[in-house]
Each structure stands twice: as structure tokens, then as C-alpha cells.
């Protein structure tokens, strides 16, 4: 059973002193939640099932978690990609993190949108992988939802987003939950000058969402935590996807899929297209 193997793995890692803390999914009866296990005896609270939504790589860059010592982190396929990007961006030293991949059939009832088009059931680039994924087939196209949106006219799309922006309460949950939004001081929190209006009205919210999505350009791994965290139910995933598709189409890169493939931002190619430039 996957649980048992996961617990055994984590226990032996802690007992051998290979790691000081296991960042995993814990449960004491209720729904799984992020758990930080430092005691080998406590590894029997670790679980893995289709309610393990969180992307735990978020905690790898957190100072309070780093203080616990050398970490092992439990990742699903989508989360594993975030580790790769974090390493590429020098936010962690890969050798200092023990990555335990868990083969994943998808999370949520019904399955989350990302899982319906998942092609990383077996996490890539892990130190070890526990379990085997049963499902392995793509059901939806990866950009099915986005295609639907793009079927609308420009005016309809703007009206749709204007409505969504009215509902945004600017809680910044989408930012806080993103493993790749790690800037110590976010541009949203700067006020000299106030480039992005801080008030939660449609104008400021639109600027915020443009900024959030674009700061993830060529970096977003599609774990969709932002969408899950949104209390207003805004489908911010569509914005991430729109940039991700542009990156995939133009640079043939899907962030985090291959450590050997470098980032697409902060670099350039002389062959970049410029058919839109006069």
C-alpha cells in the first residue's frame, strides 16, 4: 500500500538522519493537511490520497521551514515540476532537498481540471518515487478550457474578465499559495510609486491579475494552487495557461518538465519572432 511505503520511506530517512524534517501530507482522521514531521515515530500520521491538493514545495523556500533543517518533501507530478524551476532559479540547492515523488492518479472529486489533462502521473526528477499510477491517459486536452474562452469575441472576453475582476477581493491567496511567487517584497506591496492600484476594484484587480500571471511567464508549472485557493472562485488558471501555451508554442518549453531545459525569461534568442513588430 502506498501509505505504508510512504511512511516507511520517511521513517527510515528521519532515522538515518538523511533529512531533519519531512514535509508531507498528514492526517489525524480528517482531511489531509500539510505536515512537518521531525520525529520518526510521528511518520504514521503521513497519508496520501486524492485529497492531497496542496503543493508542498511552497514550504521549501520559507525561512521558518528552512530553520527545521534539511527537508524531504512529498510531491505529486505537478509539484515535482516546481522543484525543478526553484532549482533553476537558484532558490534551492537540489542536493539539499530529498524529493519523494508519489505516483498520483489525480486529486479532487470530481477530478480537478489539471488532473483531467495530466501527463505527469509519475513525478519527474525525484530522488525516489513511491507507488504506481493507475490512470495514465489524458482525458481532456491540456488547454480545453482556454480554447473555450478563446472561442468568445474580444469584447465578450473582456466583459467576462471585468465581471471576474469585480468579484476579486484581492486577498492575495493566489500569490501566497504559489511556490514560485517567492519574492521577499512583492511589487504589489510597493507604493513608491504605486504602479498597481492597491484598492480591490476592477481596475486595480485587472492590473494585479495581469501582473501575477505575467510574473509567472515561462515559470508556471500548472499546479493550479492559485485557482484552488481563490475564495471568489475566479479561474485564474486560464491566465496562467494562456501564457504557458504561448511559451510552449513559441519556445517549445514546458517549465519544470526537464531540468536540462533552461528558463525562457531573462534570456533571448536572435531568432525570436517579430512579425508583430513594425
Amino acid at each position: 500500500m502506498t501509505w505504508q511505503r510512504l511512511r516507511d520511506t520517511c521513517r527510515s530517512l528521519l532515522e538515518a538522519g538523511t533529512v531533519d524534517v519531512v514535509i508531507g501530507y498528514g492526517s489525524t482522521g480528517g482531511a489531509p493537511h500539510p505536515a512537518f514531521v521531525t520525529d520518526p515515530e510521528a511518520t504514521d500520521q503521513l497519508v496520501f490520497d486524492d485529497r492531497c491538493y496542496q503543493n508542498l514545495t511552497l514550504y521549501l523556500t520559507r525561512a521558518d521551514v528552512r530553520r527545521l533543517g534539511r527537508p524531504a518533501v512529498v510531491v505529486k507530478g505537478c509539484d515535482a515540476r516546481a522543484v525543478v524551476v526553484l532549482e533553476q532559479e537558484a532558490q534551492l540547492v537540489r542536493e539539499d532537498v530529498h524529493v519523494i515523488g508519489v505516483a498520483c492518479d489525480g486529486v479532487g472529486h470530481p477530478r480537478a481540471a489539471k488532473c483531467r489533462a495530466c501527463d505527469v502521473h509519475v513525478p519527474p526528477g525525484c530522488d525516489e518515487v513511491v507507488g504506481e499510477a493507475a490512470e495514465g491517459t489524458e482525458v481532456d486536452g491540456r488547454y480545453a478550457e482556454l480554447d473555450e474562452l478563446m472561442g468568445l469575441s474580444v469584447e465578450e472576453r473582456f466583459a467576462y474578465w471585468a465581471g471576474e475582476m469585480e468579484r476579486c477581493v484581492r486577498c492575495y491567496a493566489c500569490r501566497q499559495v504559489c511556490p514560485l511567487c517567492y519574492c521577499p517584497v512583492c511589487v504589489m506591496d510597493k507604493n513608491r510609486p504605486q504602479v498597481i492600484d492597491a484598492s480591490p476594484h476592477a481596475k486595480g484587480n485587472l492590473a494585479f491579475h495581469i501582473t501575477r500571471a505575467f510574473h509567472l511567464a515561462g515559470r508556471c508549472v500548472g499546479c493550479d494552487e492559485c485557482t484552488r485557493a481563490c475564495p471568489a472562485g475566479i479561474n485564474v488558471r486560464l491566465l496562467n495557461q494562456s501564457v504557458a501555451r504561448a511559451v510552449e508554442q513559441q519556445f517549445d518549453v514546458r517549465p519544470g518538465m526537464d531540468p536540462a531545459v533552461g528558463p525562457v525569461t531573462g534570456t533571448y534568442s536572435l531568432a525570436d519572432r517579430e512579425d508583430f513588430i513594425r
Binding site: W161, A207, A246
Partner: protein
Amino acid sequence: MRPIGEQQVVQEVETSGDTEEPKGFEPRVIAYVCNWCTYLGADLAGTNRLEYPSNVRIVRTPCTGRIDFNLVVKAFEAGADSVIVSGCHPGDCHYTVGNYHARRRWMMFRPLLETLGIDLDRIHFAWVSAAEGKKWARLVSEVTDQTRALGPYKAYKDLVRGSR
């Protein structure tokens, strides 16, 4: 020359005109240009006495690589009907590669705006060198005419008006 700070750029855009429509529609075009090529190109257009519409407000930045995508958003928030982003031709950048970085940025930024339903016909990218005063005059004329045909950017202005 003192470096151009974000504070100045934002101020410049915000004071580029009131957001109320004058009698009859006159397109308001904000142009972010680089200091080394397009700004000099625009200057050349002036010294050559070339005529082009006065609808454009030029904001000088050090390099196209410095033009934050937020400035484009800011321009629309400030009531622009169109935005021009222009800098040195590839290979001509004063900082060697600033325009290459900018080019790649816009490659990814345009699809995002498209998804959001922001009218890409209102955002114009161009390379205008210091010797291309004529090209600058033509660019501004074309953009102004095109914007006049499109009309005011009502959708964005409504969003801004409803956000007070």
C-alpha cells in the same frame, strides 16, 4: 542625464491628459520610446519639420528592455486609446541586448492580453532608429488613424470609471 525612475514615468503617464473626452473624439496615444533610437528618431522628425498628429504623448525610457508591461496597463488606466512601444532595431541596442529581452517579453505578453480580451489592435510595437524620422511620423499617423477608426477604448475606460 539622470536615470529615469518608475515614479517619473508613472507621473508622466498619469498627467498625460484628463480622462474626460474632448468634444469630438481625438485619440490619445501614449508612446513608450527608448532614449537612444526612437526618441532621437522623433526628434529628427521634428527637426526635419515632418508633420504628424499631435495625439501622441511620448514617454522617454532608457531602453525598451526597461519598459515594464505594467506601464502598458498603466497607460490604458490613464485613458490611452492606443499604446506604442518603440525602440532600437535588433542589433542596435545601446545596451546590446535590451531590445531582445523586450521582444521576448512581448511575445509572451500579447497572448495574455488577448486572453483577457484587451484589444491588441491598440498596442503597437515598432523598431524606429535615430535615422528614421520619417518612419516615426508615419507610425504615429498610422496608429492615430487606426485608433480614430476604432474609436475610444470604451471597454477599458468603463472599467476604470467604475473603479472609483
